[in-house]
């Protein structure tokens, strides 16, 4: 039963820390990564241009020699340098809230960072050359041969579009991946929350009483959907109608007596959430975890 909850949701990646705790990270989207890359690329190109301009102004061949070496270092080691310094982030990744992590859950080593960034040659600079000047890569060839060769080159550039973890060639050979930087935001507990402008309502808990049978119908998944609904309602993202629909469904499901059918939606849902959570948490303490409504009851 427990293993089921540890399955990663789509779009997330689960690692096991050395302490034996599972953490899930959100896989960065291709769009975010492309934007981060373009930001970094802009920095590289502008810096190179600035150095080159200075070299030309100062005159002399030493300046040009310096520009050559500097542009080589920038194009090949800019990413490695910052990912080493900022543990897995470059300027662009910082702006987009992305970070490189090791896929095995261990620490991100210098070798991994270097390995993933040395591959940029194959993934970006080579396809770029292929676009701009294909004849430098495949000098003498027939049309179709050139086409196949170039197609092959583009497979490497487009790698992140395949596979659910959006790995590029560099991530594949280094054992890394790019995730969203985790955010932390603690909201108040719903069971302690009171509707605004209302004193603590003792009657609420007595107003609706749910039997064990009724509480046995739903599982954790439904409980957390309900929690999500409350929070979205609080932020004004879920309409009152939606709450009403949900309320009707719950009442039907748990066979709420027809005589008491007309209830205040919010108050009803809130007390149902409280009762349901208390019930499920109690069962959890006894080692019984009911994932969702279809889950079988253990004897």
């Amino acid at each position: 039963m427990r293993a089921q909850t540890l399955l990663a949701e789509p779009g997330t990646y689960r690692i096991c820390t050395p302490e034996g705790v599972n953490l899930s990270f959100q896989v960065a989207t291709v769009g975010d990564r492309a934007s981060a890359f373009l930001l970094d690329l802009a920095i590289i190109v502008l810096t190179t241009l600035a150095i080159g301009l200075l070299a030309i102004l100062s005159g002399g061949e030493t300046g040009i020699a310096f520009t050559l070496v500097a542009s080589f270092l920038l194009f090949n080691f800019y990413f490695s340098f910052f990912e080493l310094r900022w543990s897995g982030m470059t300027y662009g990744k910082r702006q987009l809230g992305l970070r490189v992590i090791a896929r095995d859950g261990g620490s991100l080593s210098a070798d991994m960072i270097l390995a993933r960034n040395l591959m940029r040659d194959l993934e970006f600079y080579l396809p770029l050359t292929a676009l701009a000047a294909p004849e430098t890569l495949i000098p003498q060839g027939r049309g179709w041969g050139v086409l196949v060769g170039l197609g092959w080159i583009f497979v490497f550039a487009l790698m992140p579009f395949f596979g659910k973890y959006r790995l590029r060639c560099g991530d594949l050979i280094a054992g890394t991946m790019v995730v969203r930087e985790p955010k932390t935001l603690l909201l108040s507990d719903l069971t302690l929350e009171r509707p605004i402008g209302q004193e603590e309502d003792q009657t609420e808990s007595q107003e609706f009483v749910f039997s064990t049978q009724q509480l046995n119908l739903y599982g954790i998944y439904e409980l957390q959907i309900l929690e999500d609904l409350f929070r979205r309602h609080g932020e004004g993202q879920a309409s009152k109608e939606l709450l009403n629909t949900v309320c009707e469904k719950i009442k039907k499901k748990i066979e709420w007596p027809r005589s008491k059918w007309n209830v205040d939606t919010l108050r009803f849902l809130r007390s149902f959430y409280k009762a349901q959570r208390a019930h499920l948490e109690k069962k959890l303490l006894f080692g019984e975890r009911k994932e969702q409504k279809s889950s079988k009851q253990s004897p």
Binding site: R99, D111, I173, P182, L185, L190, L285
Partner: protein, 306 residues
């Protein structure tokens, strides 16, 4: 981002307690918001606690003293294979060009030939091997061009290994072919030994670096094609990061080679000294990789053989 020493001291302790809070919460609470918050907190702390920060000086010293030679020593079979490929190309180029000098033109690209062809006179070929003194300014530009050009090819050689290693084989063989064809041209004019002295002063270092990059590419290709007991992605990830010191080391060697080629070759015109430098560098690299590499491999019990 910057933590004070006191905060840093507390970080692991706080991290541990957050981890255990998360474990407890997962066992008893169903408040999704609380669970998400704790998980986010632990994830952020995890990234900090397990980031790998060491003083650069220490890393560089360790790299030169042991990691680079150990890696080369560990993958010596691939290095041998890469050098074998280039030697094969060299022999083919040499024999073919000797039999028909016109083939020189088809083997050697024009930018490498620098205007020399089988039609050039022996005099002009000889002149290329002995340069008049040039201003030092031009030499620096020449050396930095050589370094960036060669290092780029080296890195490309490594990354092409991802394409199943096939392009690496072609690249190594073709470079051998060029070298063989050039040697054949000079050999046919009785300048063979002088040509090799001219090339090998820096060539020993440069070729070794090229072998390493090629070998690293072959390691990638091998990991992809023949993953053995692992899945392909695990095998790639395992070997990719393991072989990286070899590529970084090779880039440094390209730098050394460019200094030799850019300054030494242009400034020293005595054949005997050129041979001496070639022999000296060869001896140094063999000692460095075979002896230092082997010593550290047996010392450490090798963390590479995992």
């Amino acid at each position: 981002m910057n933590l004070s020493a006191k905060d840093l001291h507390q970080l692991p302790v706080l991290y541990r307690s957050a981890v255990s809070s998360l474990s407890v919460a997962r066992a008893i609470s169903l408040d999704k918001n609380l669970l998400d918050y704790l998980e986010g907190l632990v994830s952020r702390a995890y990234l900090l606690v397990y980031s790998n920060k060491r003083p650069p000086k220490e890393v560089i010293a360790e790299f030169l003293a042991s990691r680079f030679p150990i890696t080369v020593f560990f993958y010596w079979k691939f290095v041998a294979f890469a050098s074998g490929l280039l030697t094969l190309g060299f022999l083919c180029g040499f024999v073919l060009t000797l039999n028909d000098p016109e083939r020189y033109v088809s083997f050697v690209p024009s930018e490498v030939a620098q205007g020399h062809s089988p039609a050039s006179s022996t005099e002009s070929l000889k002149r290329q091997l002995y340069s008049e003194n040039e201003p030092a300014d031009g030499l620096t530009l020449f050396a930095s061009f050589l370094f960036t050009h060669n290092a780029k090819i080296g890195i490309l050689c490594f990354s092409l290994g991802f394409a199943a290693g096939l392009p690496v084989v072609v690249l190594l063989f073709y470079n051998g072919l060029i070298l063989g064809a050039m040697t054949a041209l000079y050999y046919s004019r009785g300048l063979g030994a002088e040509f090799l002295a001219w090339v090998m002063g820096h060539g020993v270092t440069e070729l070794a670096a090229l072998f390493f990059c090629g070998a690293a590419g072959l390691v990638l290709g091998n990991a992809l094609m023949f993953p053995g007991q692992y899945t392909r992605s695990t095998s790639l990830a395992l070997h990719g990061r393991k072989v990286v010191p070899m590529v970084i080391g090779a880039v440094l060697m390209f730098f050394v080679a460019a200094v030799f080629e850019g300054y030494f070759r242009q400034l020293v015109n005595v054949v005997a000294i050129r041979w001496l430098v070639a022999g000296g560098t060869l001896f140094f690299w063999v000692w460095y990789f075979a002896w230092v590499g082997r010593k550290h491999t047996s010392d450490a019990g090798s963390n590479l053989t995992s």
